[in-house]
């Protein structure tokens, strides 16, 4: 893990910061669309060392945050399936749906377990075969292949008590929707390194081509981000928008063909509801019919009251990049990580949580 230090080195940062200051002689607005970038930018205080002309805004890059309340309600209600064990990544536990949270369900005695990998969940299901194990699949192209591989593995091992609730989403469609709306003026994108490691750079080609925007696929360490910002500024200033890969140690232009193949075998694109962005065609991933026996959405179809969004919560606008977290009237007043009103304040990757934790 020595290689990480190289990208956190203060000495390496200095010339990059100087060069950015030298070049940034006019306002440039860049959006990052990955929660991990949002966190890194806040955690290393990157905004503070940039010139005022460089405006970094966060986009719809936190999978938990963009999940609609309807999907959250469905996921949380699965905890009420008799004998069920809910398997989830940690940051879903405290996200408020319309009526409850997984943490509250657990306090009432439901079995909610945090896992780091769906495969761990499958192993648990195999050991405790009397319980239905339901994995909550929330994530982008980064998570989907692992979940797909686990579903294939469950089928191979003939595990009958393992189910997946898929609220997976794909990123490029969301960016297109965001740009088509025209409500936000941008110069370029800091593109997600992990997502691109799977998809490659091709799905983002429309950004420079159709919208004339600069685009750099970036790593997650502070030096990565500074380098990427510098590349973006150069693209903007030279009027040469294109896709550059800064995160070369992680991303191939063609992506990861094997992961894409597995993903395609298990999931099919469907229309999906995004918080703040509405319904986006073909931007969700549902289990293909061959796997419907494992599809929690089909197997456990629970009746649900109408979902409602929390009053006054402006997570939708935050996710579209048109509202900064501190500009929301609830921010740090009634909404904080301890008592979150909206998902952007809960998830580790949420812009509001990052702003609250590191920047207030």
């Amino acid at each position: 893990m020595k290689f990480i230090d190289e990208f956190r080195d203060g000495e390496k940062a200095k010339p990059l910061i100087e060069e950015i200051h030298r070049l940034a002689d006019r306002p440039i607005r860049l959006m990052e669309v990955c929660g991990t970038h949002t966190v890194s930018i806040a955690r290393y205080g990157i905004r503070k060392i940039l010139p005022e002309t460089i405006d970094l805004v966060s986009g719809p890059g936190c999978p938990v945050c963009v999940t609609s309340n309807r999907d959250l309600d469905k996921a949380i209600s699965l905890a009420q399936v008799p004998e069920a064990v809910i398997l989830t990544f940690g940051d879903m536990v405290r996200v408020p749906g319309s009526f409850s949270t997984l943490a509250a369900e657990r306090a009432k005695g439901r079995d909610v377990r945090v896992v780091y990998s769906p495969l761990d969940g499958l192993n648990m299901a195999e050991k405790e075969e009397k319980h239905p194990f339901i994995f909550l699949g929330v994530g982008f192209e980064t998570t989907a292949p692992t979940v797909a591989a686990t579903i294939q593995e469950a089928q191979k091992r003939n595990v009958k008590n393992f189910f997946v609730f898929s609220a997976h989403k794909t990123v490029p469609g969301a960016l297109k929707t965001l740009l088509t709306s025209g409500e936000l003026k941008l110069d370029g994108f800091l593109l997600p390194g992990h997502v691109s490691a799977i998809t490659g750079s091709y799905p983002f080609a429309f950004l420079p081509r159709d919208f004339g925007l600069a685009a750099v696929i970036s790593g997650f360490e502070p030096i990565d981000i500074l380098q990427s910002i510098l590349l973006l500024i150069r693209q903007v200033k030279n009027h040469q928008p294109r896709i550059e890969i800064q995160y070369r140690r992680g991303v191939q232009p063609q992506g990861n063909p094997r992961a894409l193949e597995i993903m395609g075998q298990v999931f099919e694109p469907v229309d999906a509801e995004w918080r703040g962005l509405g319904r986006i065609p073909q931007s969700g991933l549902a289990l293909r019919t061959e796997f419907s026996a494992m599809d929690a959405a089909r197997v456990f179809d629970l009746p649900l009251p109408e979902s409602k969004d929390p009053e006054g919560c402006r997570c939708g606008e935050v996710l579209r990049g048109i509202l900064r977290p501190p500009e929301c009237a609830l921010f740090a007043k009634v909404c904080n990580p301890q008592n979150p009103i909206g998902p952007c304040m809960v998830s580790f990757e949420g812009s509001c949580a990052a702003a609250f934790k590191y920047e207030t």
């Binding site: 203060g10 955690r43 290393y44 205080g45 060392i49 509250a104 896992v115 008592n339 934790k357």
Partner: protein, 344 residues
């Protein structure tokens, strides 16, 4: 912080996060325990009470241990139960003397495991120079507890002239840490069901009383001592900043983090600053004494990796500020939520 006027049904029950040692634990203590038990000794909110009896000052503390798994790389629940209480006493500068031990056992718990745990407790007690002088055992129905819970309480004598409290940090103090952070948190995680990953890392679980005694031998200019257990470095520094109404400024590049811990954090998306430690201490000391104290810490086996990580300033009050590796600054907040339950 203001509570949501319309609780979404999470507010009327205890959540795991209330036990995480972070913001929610603080809230629980303030809203329930402090309200009921209020008295001048408790109000100090240190890890131990300081009692004046017979012309001497005594440190008194208690702690319960519910860690899972009960055996982990570098220790077990028994060793932890002794170290934890010995360390809480030591953080007042006290010499720990006597401990109690209470056991809550689940029906069906193997004798052999109990013997192993008790032997480990005795060995650690000998190492720390304390005696277990009273105890209690309860057995509950299967399912009424998770195998074994241990409570220990302890009492120790505070040497004359020593005055250490979380409220004593002053502007100008240097902030010292006795070694690398996060070892315990990652060692526990690595051995948990569903998360097994291989690491050569072991818990840092150790009694710190001897290290504290050596530090006090060279200087009594030690203002605060605290062991960054649950909630990690972040929560402990925030507690000190709040109690003393000062700012604590630390430097990212000076904070020792082992590569294995850093790697695991990278993998699991965790922040080493919030990971638990069970054999580390943080001290704020007068600036003139800092080098002297650091030197004696580094000679001690439990302080080999000691470092000065920052300093205490006047402003901004009750906040912890980190100078990041790339030269910017940011707030270090107290842990919120429950990334790793039942680590101690």
């Amino acid at each position: 912080m203001k509570r949501n006027p319309e609780p979404n049904s999470t507010d009327d029950r205890i959540l795991l996060a209330h036990g995480s040692g972070g913001e929610m634990s603080q809230d629980l203590i303030a809203s329930i325990f402090m309200k009921a038990f209020r008295n001048p000794i408790l109000d100090r909110l240190d890890d131990m009470a300081v009692l004046e009896m017979g012309g001497k000052r005594w440190a008194f503390t208690t702690d319960s241990y519910v860690v899972t798994p009960i055996f982990f790389p570098g220790g077990d629940i028994g060793k932890l139960a002794i170290c934890g209480t010995v360390n809480d006493l030591s953080m007042s500068g006290a010499r720990p003397l006597f401990l109690s031990a209470g056991f809550i056992l689940e029906e069906g718990f193997p004798f052999r495991d109990l013997e192993t745990i008790v032997a480990s407790m005795q060995k650690t007690a000998e190492q720390a120079g304390v005696q277990i002088v009273t105890g209690d055992t309860k057995v509950v129905n299967r399912g009424g507890a998770d195998r074994i819970f241990i409570n220990t309480a302890g009492i120790g004598l505070i040497p004359e002239g020593v005055n250490i409290s979380g409220a004593n940090a002053r502007a100008g103090d240097k902030v010292l840490i006795s070694g690398s952070i996060g070892d315990h948190g990652i060692a526990i995680l690595s051995s948990r069901e569903g998360l097994e990953f291989s690491t050569s890392l072991t818990s840092d679980c150790a009694p710190l009383n001897d290290l504290v005694a050596r530090m006090l031998e060279v200087s009594q200019d030690i203002h605060c001592l605290r062991d960054p257990t649950r909630g990690g470095l972040s929560s402990t520094l925030n507690e000190l900043a709040r109690q003393s109404q000062v700012a604590i400024w630390i430097e990212e590049t000076r904070i020792p983090v082992k590569e294995e811990v850093r790697g695991a954090c990278e993998l699991l998306g965790l922040d080493p600053f919030i990971l638990a430690n069970e054999g580390k201490l943080i001290a704020t000391v007068g600036p003139e004494s800092a080098e002297k104290i650091l030197k004696v810490m580094r000679i001690h086996p439990l302080g080999k990796g000691a470092a000065i990580i920052g300093e205490v300033r006047e402003e901004p009050k009750a906040k912890v500020i980190l100078r990041t590796s790339i030269g910017s600054t940011r707030i270090v907040d107290m842990l919120v939520g429950e990334p790793l339950p039942r680590i101690c």
